[in-house]
């Protein structure tokens, strides 16, 4: 009965779109949309392939999905970099200056790094405007924002993370349009503790207060915004990230492949080696796993300020022979390592979302994620532990290594599950958020699907 109703609903929707097509050609429709439709002025900090972390990936995924839903979008970046993303128009805050080269860019991006880590950065031949202190650069970005807001017509402003909040606020002051701030991480997540950088905290707080609406990447992050910044829960909407699904067709990494031929198991850690990511818990867990499954290797991909500390811990526990540090990997190299992994572990102390487990799942690797992560809220075919519960993590890892059936189940079902976690859902959620601020966005809203699935018991 229920299913029948769904089908009817869909039919009605198809019928509507037929009328549209009869009245005007597809081309005309697009033209009208561009002329009259509301649009978004989006402030970002980094953009792939010039990114240091998940912030850039999220900006790419969201802007692309919004564009494919028909939302016209201008994407603002602080520095001129050679990007070509055909789905939106790019504007650079330092338009006048020259495009940065690759080495300059690499030294520049620090979206997810802690402030202190980068404040001592030397000039490295960067143009004056961008070589200074990170906070100065954030302020510099804001100074350019009013001009950008005047030149680019928009109906909503959308700013990603604290680095862009001052720019977003400045744009709002100029155009008077509503501001959405998007929280990919808070200072509490980055610092992994309660001792946060005051300046950054204040910038975040100002952004949350001045925003007309806040998008948070998880309930976990929303809770932080409400509890640590005193923002009313009603102002914060959870918009989960997505991931673009593409098969991992890589060949297994050679050396790891050889180990596996000898019956060894591979447990994988991928991420920056910082306090936030819980590398120390990973080492403690490894020790417990090895006591029961001695033919296991722990592969660590990533770098960060705790790398040295992690290596020392491994050595002092006498586990050096069982750890493989392979530095920061991405793309094909990382895909080849995924191919070798028996299980991926993300013991993050505080993870606003966490895209990496989704990558692992695409590669058919079973994942164990900490309950202190946003991504754990949306995963079913995944194992979950508290980051501090070493016994529980070790127990789960050993179980996956021992029980082929469990491993297969998680890898097959995980891969299927991650297919449904796409950016389109995030974009739809954002459009309805924009629409609550400016109802002209209703033209991009899909007719709401009838509430199906998840009904208690079933229809008899």
């Amino acid at each position: 009965m229920l299913k029948y109703r769904n089908r009817l609903g869909k039919k009605q929707f198809l019928f509507c779109s037929c009328i549209l097509k009869n009245n005007c050609s597809a081309y005309n429709f697009k033209k009208v949309a561009n002329l009259k439709s509301p649009n978004v002025l989006m402030f970002g900090w980094e953009f792939p392939p010039f990114n240091s972390g998940g912030l850039g990936v999220a900006c790419e995924g969201l802007s692309k999905a919004l564009a494919s839903s028909g939302v016209p979008l201008t994407f603002v970046l602080p520095f001129k970099i050679p990007i070509s993303a055909p789905w939106c128009k790019f504007v650079f805050a330092n338009e006048s200056s020259e495009t940065l080269d690759d080495t300059q860019i690499r030294k520049l991006f620090s979206g997810y790094q802690s402030h202190s880590y980068f404040s001592g950065i030397k000039k490295y031949g960067l143009p004056e405007f961008i070589s200074g202190d990170l906070i100065e650069r954030v302020r510099g970005y804001a100074k350019a924002a009013p001009n950008i807001a005047r030149k680019n017509k928009h109906s909503v402003i959308h700013a990603h993370d604290w680095l862009t909040y001052p720019a977003g606020i400045a744009a709002k002051e100029t155009s008077g349009k509503p501001l959405v701030v998007h929280v990919h991480a808070t200072e509490f997540d980055r610092s992994g503790s309660d001792s946060v950088n005051k300046d950054i905290y204040n910038i975040e707080l100002e952004g949350f207060r001045r925003a007309d609406a806040i998008a948070a990447v998880s309930e976990w992050t929303k809770k932080k915004i409400v509890n640590k910044y005193g923002i009313p829960a009603g102002k914060v909407k959870v918009v989960y990230n997505g991931i673009e699904f593409s098969n991992n067709g890589a060949v297994i990494e050679q050396n790891l492949g050889r180990l596996k031929q000898n019956g060894a198991k591979i447990v994988l850690f991928v991420g920056r080696i910082t306090l936030q990511k819980g590398p120390d818990y990973f080492v403690s867990m490894a020790e417990k796993v090895l006591a029961h499954e001695p033919n296991t290797f722990f592969v660590v991909s990533g770098s960060g300020d705790m790398e040295g500390e992690m290596i020392r811990q491994v050595a002092s526990r006498g586990l050096s022979a069982k750890f493989i540090f392979c530095g920061f990997l991405r793309g094909e190299e990382l895909n080849r390592v995924y191919k070798a992994a028996d299980i991926f572990v993300m013991p993050s102390v505080s993870e606003p979302f966490g895209l990496v487990p989704l990558e692992a799942m695409i590669s058919e690797v079973p994942v164990l994620v900490s309950k202190e992560s946003g991504v754990s809220e949306i995963l079913a075919s995944a194992l979950k532990s508290h980051f501090w519960d070493i016994d529980d993590m070790a127990d789960k890892v050993i179980s996956v290594l021992r029980h082929k059936k469990l491993q297969n189940h998680l890898s097959v079902n995980g891969r299927e599950e991650v297919k449904a976690i796409h950016w389109k859902t995030a974009a739809e959620s954002l459009i309805s958020l924009y629409n609550s601020l400016d109802n002209a966005f209703s033209m991009f809203l899909l007719p709401s699907a009838p509430a199906f699935a998840r009904t208690q018991v079933s229809d008899f």
């Binding site: 979950k384 050993i398 059936k405 297969n408 189940h409 699935a453 998840r454």
Partner: protein, 410 residues
């Protein structure tokens, strides 16, 4: 009626260190004692007192129970007053007790010998506690097939219960008594699932067009079947009364007024399963070559054996059993049987949509994987115990063999 002995969060580090699998004392959903106390307070005690009152007010009212041995054992241990209240009900003569497997197991599917042993254990338990011997059988979760009917007939039962699933009935109605294919005397009673589920599942569902369900309304639905059948079999979890449907939904009022409302129509009466079987001839033969159950929308075994994790756990369990039954170690045997309870496998179910929600509601674990991991760790410990027991037994045998040689002792 059933309460399993839930396996605690038994970790790999416990294997070989301790073998207490069921003693969670956290007060959470894994704490068996806490659950027995809670459900007794919310359901068994108040529901029993409503039924006792009903029998006093309407001496024609009949009801029957199938109570698992594992549940009875836990009542004796944690809440003996529950046993007393059932004794009071049985003493009225209006209450029939049915047979089932002591451990509420899937042994009917995996091991006919073990199935028979567990049915025997349950008969004995019922006889010891209540002084009666059941003559009608209901299998775990109403799991049924021609084969099961044959086994049960061989054990001397005159009747067996099953789900009145559409796919086994076809055009036929569950309101008649049937004869299972391949049997001679045993009769089959089928659950009227629509009317049963109206109470068990939909009673408090506000989105249901018939909400709120009242006793007169339900009695009307029952009466509307008159002239079109012999019996309406309402089978449901006893926990429906007060646990699945909370007291504030009015479920106890419904239960209190229902017998009177039904008996207002002189064509209606109440009967226990064995009375129905004695009273009516089988209307026809029902061929059920494949297993049916009352679980989920599929009404098959997929709730317990649908995924690879469940299959792995079951295979490991019954493989151990082949060796355990040759070892004289009552504790090991008893633990093995407790680990056969169907609920352990139900918790490992990964059907996420629709039925998945029901599984989640009934599961004390955070995920099916937690259930599998704890269970398989227990299996590893059982393996170690079995190995030790086997070694000891060999040792005893060899000692016994050398003994006659010690002339000095003679």
């Amino acid at each position: 009626m059933h309460q399993p002995l839930r396996v605690r969060k038994y970790r790999i580090f416990d294997v070989g260190q301790n073998s207490s699998y069921f003693n969670d004392e956290s007060g959470t959903n894994l704490d068996n004692k806490a659950i027995i106390e809670k459900v007794a307070r919310k359901c068994y005690l108040p529901a029993n007192s409503v039924l006792l009152e009903n029998i006093k007010n309407n001496p024609e009212f009949k009801v029957s129970f199938s109570i698992s041995g594992v549940a009875l054992e836990q009542f004796e241990k944690y809440m003996p007053e529950v046993i007393d209240s059932f004794k009071a009900l049985v003493e009225t003569g209006n209450v029939e007790l049915l047979s089932e497997t002591y451990h509420h197991s899937l042994a009917s599917i995996y091991s006919p010998e073990e199935f028979e042993s567990q049915v025997g254990l349950h008969r004995k338990k019922i006889k010891d506690l209540f002084g009666v011997t059941p003559s009608v059988f209901r299998n775990t979760e109403l799991i049924y097939s021609n084969e099961i009917a044959k086994m049960v007939e061989k054990m001397g039962y005159k009747g067996i219960l099953a789900e009145g699933a559409d796919h086994i009935l076809g055009w036929r109605s569950p309101t008649f008594v049937y004869k299972p294919t391949g049997t001679d005397n045993i009769k089959l009673l089928l659950k009227h699932y629509r009317l049963s589920d109206d109470v068990a599942f939909r009673f408090s569902q506000r989105s249901w067009e018939s909400w709120p369900l009242t006793a007169p309304k339900f009695a009307d639905w029952i009466s509307s079947h008159n002239g079109n059948g012999n019996t309406i079999n309402l089978f449901m979890d006893y926990e429906t009364f007060g646990e699945h449907q909370w007291e504030d939904t009015g479920i106890f009022e419904f239960l209190r007024y229902l017998p009177g409302e039904i008996l207002k129509n002189p064509d209606n009466n109440f009967a226990t399963p064995s009375e129905v079987i004695d009273r009516y001839e089988a209307k026809g033969e029902l061929d059920v070559p494949y297993y049916v159950s009352w679980a989920d929308t599929e009404r098959d075994l997929s709730a317990w054996t649908g995924n690879d994790l469940q299959k792995e756990a079951l295979e490991t369990l019954y493989a151990l059993g082949k060796e355990i039954i040759h070892i004289d170690d009552p504790e090991l045997l008893e633990d093995w049987r407790r680990l056969q309870t169907s609920d352990h496998f139900y918790y490992m179910c990964t059907k996420w949509w629709n039925d998945g929600d029901v599984h989640k509601y009934f599961s004390p674990y955070e995920s099916p994987y937690e259930a599998f991991i704890a269970y398989m760790n227990v299996m590893q410990d059982m393996r170690l115990r079995l190995d030790t027991a086997q070694k000891n037994q060999e040792h005893d045998v060899s000692l016994h063999k050398v003994r006659p040689l010690r002339f000095s002792e003679v």
